[in-house]
């Protein structure tokens, strides 16, 4: 553990500032709270918001899991986990069930989370209306007035043009019936997991300097219409390694002749299932 810096890198005053923003965010579910985001020793876009949130809430007894694309061993997840091992000396884990704090980029773990866990999302663009209205002064006004017609029009136009909504990730949600929120670029497949989740969900956007939150057991609804309800998409296959038919799958290109292997994107989920004796069609070949 490197002792040249404060526990978990940030100084205590900065952590207090971040925690105040978190408390405000929890009190107003889905509302983006501006905060004095600091320059971190990792670049913007690498998870500086999530890292600042994690650094502000983590304690010496916490068990930290860091995933990117659902996997613990992607290089950026490794790098962030190392950062906290170095600056906070916390126990790392790859097991979802064992973690007290899970920092994630682009996925929600398949295993349902518990009340004693916190899920920290890395958020590139906290403003769900950003592609429809470029001015933040204007989008703030729209949130204040709950003026979300623009997004409904966008969904409606998608349906008239393609027959369904064409947003496949970062699919906008209404939180607690009040604020439109960007769930971060998780696949729409993960959206339903946010609804009434027992775990606290915190969202950190470092470059855009915003924090927002979904408190435990809060209603989170993916935007849709009565006659065009929200629907999930996943690759229509079973995991080649563990045989799961309900998990989100990555498509691995095996050769240049169209060979494909579909595997769970949540590596812990897949390993846990395989350890329990589940096997998919490609399990033996992959050994």
């Amino acid at each position: 553990m490197n002792t040249g810096y404060n526990f978990a890198y940030l100084d205590e005053q900065t952590k207090r500032m971040v925690r105040r923003a978190i408390l405000k965010a929890v009190a107003i579910p889905g509302h983006q709270v501006p905060f004095g985001s600091r320059e971190m020793p990792l670049p913007y876009g690498w998870g500086t918001g999530g890292i600042q949130v994690t650094a502000s809430i983590i304690g010496a007894d916490d068990v930290l899991k860091v995933i990117d694309q659902g996997a613990d061993d992607t290089t950026n997840a490794v790098s962030i986990r190392r950062f906290f091992a170095r600056t906070a000396g916390v126990t790392p884990t790859t097991r979802t069930a064992e973690a007290t704090v899970i920092q994630t980029r682009h996925r929600i773990p398949e295993l349902p989370l518990r009340e004693d866990q916190i899920l920290v999302y890395q958020v590139p663009q906290p403003e769900p209306l950003s592609r429809l209205e470029s001015s933040r002064a204007e989008t703030r006004r729209m949130h204040a007035l709950s003026e979300y017609g623009l997004m409904h029009v966008k969904l409606y136009e998608d349906i008239t043009r393609y027959g369904h909504v064409s947003i496949s990730h970062d699919y906008p949600v209404m939180v607690n019936g009040r604020y439109l929120m960007a769930p971060s670029p998780i696949p729409a497949f993960d959206n339903p997991k946010m609804h009434m989740m027992p775990a606290l969900q915190l969202f950190g956007a470092g470059r855009e300097k915003r924090i927002y939150a979904v408190p435990p057991y809060t209603a989170v609804h993916s935007l849709d219409f009565d006659d065009h309800p929200f629907r999930l998409t996943r690759a229509p296959h079973a995991c080649g390694l563990c045989g799961a038919t309900d998990s989100y799958l990555d498509e691995v290109v095996l050769d240049d002749r169209g060979g494909r292997l579909f595997v769970c994107s949540d590596t812990d989920h897949c390993e846990t299932r395989r350890a329990a004796g589940h096997a998919g069609p490609d399990a033996l070949a992959a050994e």
Binding site: G36, R38, G45, D73, S79, R82, A137, G163, L254
Partner: protein, 360 residues
């Protein structure tokens, strides 16, 4: 089957860093560059890194440049990430640029003026011919020196101000904003805008300033003055109760002067765009002044039509540390999102094919 789960991220990172260190050093048969050499001989690079890194420390800036293999944005990032951990023990008083010890002072609006024109060590009138003599080592002949003078060199804005022809400095209203501690909000005051520009990307400001000259938010600016020199930094420690001088910083200040035909509330007068930056940096200070003036369009009742006049556009995008982070983060894995896009495209294609079949 050739599939192996992608493992070994830890080892890959370690190995990449080891290779990077080797690449940074280059051919060990060639002498290693020292940070002293960088600070002394690549001074303009050091100036830029200090400005964009928002930290005045030549030695650390030189170290950052060495560590970043001369990638100046990477170097500025290193400085920023260091400065953000530093405690703040005092606020400096506003520096008095009228009292700077000048090494360069030029005005384009007067042929001569009190204190005179002084070129200083400028590239302005060099012929851009490669100087092959620099391929060899050697000391340049000593430059001629004039005796120091204590003639006052009033700022051109003060000379114009004496006649009431130019707007004043305005009232200082309280402590200026600090966007390194408080997030941006709009409308953003001129203090915060200037802070953003002072640490903003030189290339971005140059392009925006240039665009304002070419008719994208047009104004016809004159260089009222550019002055470069050492300015004293003073702080007042609470336990002392009086100001003490804690050192000098090299600054470049640019006052752009722009005609203004007056509005309902303001008389016709010259308006100003202001540029101030660490180090010797004409281009940076001038571009900043142009963009500052362009962003005042709304305040002065001018039409806001061009990118340089759009405060949100300029201030949100001038920070190259934020910009490079977000642009370069695209190389991080995005395969989960891409998978969801793949499924969407496949579904759309299948439906389009069905529709076509039905039509046939």
């Amino acid at each position: 089957m050739p599939y192996v789960a992608v493992k070994g991220g830890e080892r890959a990172i370690d190995n990449a860093h080891a290779w990077l260190a080797e690449a940074r050093r280059g051919d060990p048969a060639v002498a290693e560059v020292g940070t002293g050499q960088i600070a002394e001989q690549l001074g303009r690079a050091v100036d830029r890194v200090m400005a964009e890194g928002s930290l005045y420390d030549r030695e650390l800036a030189a170290l950052a440049i060495k560590q970043a293999q001369g990638d100046l944005i990477e170097a500025a990032f290193l400085l920023r990430a260091y400065r953000t951990t530093l405690p703040r023990f005092a606020h400096a008083a506003p520096v008095e640029t009228a009292a700077m010890l000048l090494r360069r002072r030029i005005s384009a609006v007067y042929k001569d003026l009190p204190g005179g024109q002084m070129l200083g060590p400028t590239y302005d009138y060099t012929h851009r011919l490669l100087d092959f003599a620099l391929l060899a080592e050697g000391a340049p002949p000593a430059a001629p020196e004039a005796a120091a003078t204590d003639k006052p060199m009033p700022r051109v804005s003060d000379i114009l101000g004496g006649e009431g022809l130019i707007e004043g400095d305005g009232e200082a209203n309280g402590e200026p904003g600090d966007l390194t501690r408080e997030p941006l909000s709009f409308p953003a005051g001129r203090d915060v805008r200037l802070q953003a520009l002072a640490r903003g990307d030189e290339g971005f400001m140059l392009a925006l300033g240039y665009s304002s000259q070419r008719g994208w938010g047009g104004s016809h600016p004159f260089v009222g003055e550019i002055r470069i020199g050492e300015a004293a930094v003073e702080i007042t420690p609470p336990e002392l109760g009086f100001a003490i001088d804690i050192g000098d910083v090299t600054l470049t200040e640019c006052q752009m002067v722009t005609q203004f035909k007056g509005s309902k509330t303001l008389p016709p007068q010259f308006t100003r765009g202001y540029g101030l930056t660490f180090g010797h940096a004409d281009r940076r200070a001038m571009a900043m002044a142009l963009v500052d003036r362009a962003m005042r369009a709304e305040e002065l009742g001018e039409d806001v039509t061009a990118p340089a006049q759009n405060v949100e556009f300029v201030v949100y995008h001038c920070d190259n540390i934020e910009a490079t982070g977000f642009v370069e983060h695209l190389k991080l894995p995005h395969y989960v999102d891409f998978q969801s896009e793949l499924e969407t495209i496949r579904r759309l294609r299948a439906e389009a094919a069905q529709l076509q079949e039905a039509a046939e």
